[in-house]
Each structure stands twice: as structure tokens, then as C-alpha cells.
Symmetry: none
Subunit: 114 residues, 2 copies
């Protein structure tokens, strides 16, 4: 359920996002109330971030915490109850062709027939 992400990888991501945000190590450091040397350790993976610090950094860099754990840009979607229900039902359909039909049906339901 999602592969392990090493401290090194998360560190690199922090560095990347920090640079994208136009922040120096020192700037970021004071935003999370630490020294810039400590930020260096994070970025190089020398020390392992704990949850609170990671959240502080995420907030400082204006990104979601989940950003650091998704190695690829995987699709994480928040579902309503209704949508969740639909998905579960849809997944129970083993017949591939039938699923295709459902897709076509639902997809064209709003389009006026020519």
C-alpha cells in the first residue's frame, strides 16, 4: 500500500519544493523554528523527520503532507458517500465488457442524441 519512502527521498523533495518556493535554507529554518543546519540534515537525509516537523515544513512550503509520500503523482481522490457506493458496486462487476458499457452509458447520459 504505497512504497516506503526513505528520508533521503523526502529530503530531496523538501529541497526541491523549497527552491521552487524561492526560499533559502535559513528562511525555511526560521519558519519552522530551527537552525538552517538542521534543515540541511533534513534535505540530505542525515536525520529522520518526525511527523510534526514534516507537517510544519509542509505548511511552510504550502503543500500537502501527502506530497512527500507519493513518489509518483498518484491520484488520490476524496469521495462522497454516493461516489464511494458507486465505486464499490462498479468494482464488483467482473465482466470487462459490461464495465465498458456502464462507462459508455454514464458518460453519454447528458449528451443529446444526434
Amino acid at each position: 500500500m504505497g512504497d516506503m519512502v526513505s528520508s533521503r527521498e523526502i529530503g530531496l523533495k523538501i529541497k526541491l519544493l523549497r527552491q521552487q518556493a524561492g526560499l533559502s535554507q535559513e528562511k525555511l529554518a526560521e519558519m519552522i523554528f530551527l537552525t538552517f543546519q538542521q534543515v540541511q540534515k533534513y534535505e540530505s537525509g542525515q536525520t529522520t523527520l518526525n511527523i510534526l516537523k514534516l507537517q510544519q515544513i509542509a505548511e511552510a512550503l504550502q503543500v500537502s503532507v501527502t506530497e512527500f509520500f507519493s513518489s509518483e503523482p498518484t491520484k488520490h481522490v476524496r469521495l462522497s458517500m454516493e461516489e464511494d457506493q458507486l465505486l464499490h458496486a462498479f468494482r464488483r462487476i467482473k465482466n470487462t465488457e459490461l464495465r465498458g458499457c456502464i462507462l459508455k452509458l454514464v458518460g453519454n447520459i447528458n449528451k443529446r442524441t444526434k
Copy 2:
């Protein structure tokens, strides 16, 4: 971008998910190569998890790491292309009653008519 989640909250979530998985503190502990007393500290929020441990726990409990950062029980689901397509189409349907019909249709598609 996503509210802070305290160690306490994450701890409670771990406890909940662990129990749902039918695991004792000791079982979980050996899965992550620590003592069960340390698991206790996590669950009670006495010690702050670092990223690696959180990932190990997530893996042991068969959940995504992101699960622990969503304060409300929001459903985060990983979608296939097909499912993603279905959802988008479904959301475009404004008619509430019609959506209900789709749900019923898809939901009963496998059930044999009595």
C-alpha cells in the same frame, strides 16, 4: 493545506486501525521490530513518530500513510484509469434522481432477479 495532526490523534488512529486489523500491541510491535511498550507510547501520543516508523506501521496495518493525516474519516482511494473515468462521468450528472438510478443499476447488476 491540511490541518496539523497531533501525535495524539495519529496515535488514536493507529490504535483504531490496529484493533480493526485484529492485532495486539505485541503483534504489531514485532512487525515493526520494536517492543509493544513502544507501540503503547505511539498510540497514547507520548512519543512522536518519525516518518520511517509511520510508514512501517502503515504497511503493517495495510493502509496508506496518508490515512493518518486526514483528521476526518475521509475516504482516500487510489483509482484506476477506468474508475477515474467513471467518476468524472458520474459527477457530471446533475440530476440527483438519475444518479440514484445509476447507483441502483450498477449496484444490482450482478444480482440475479428473483
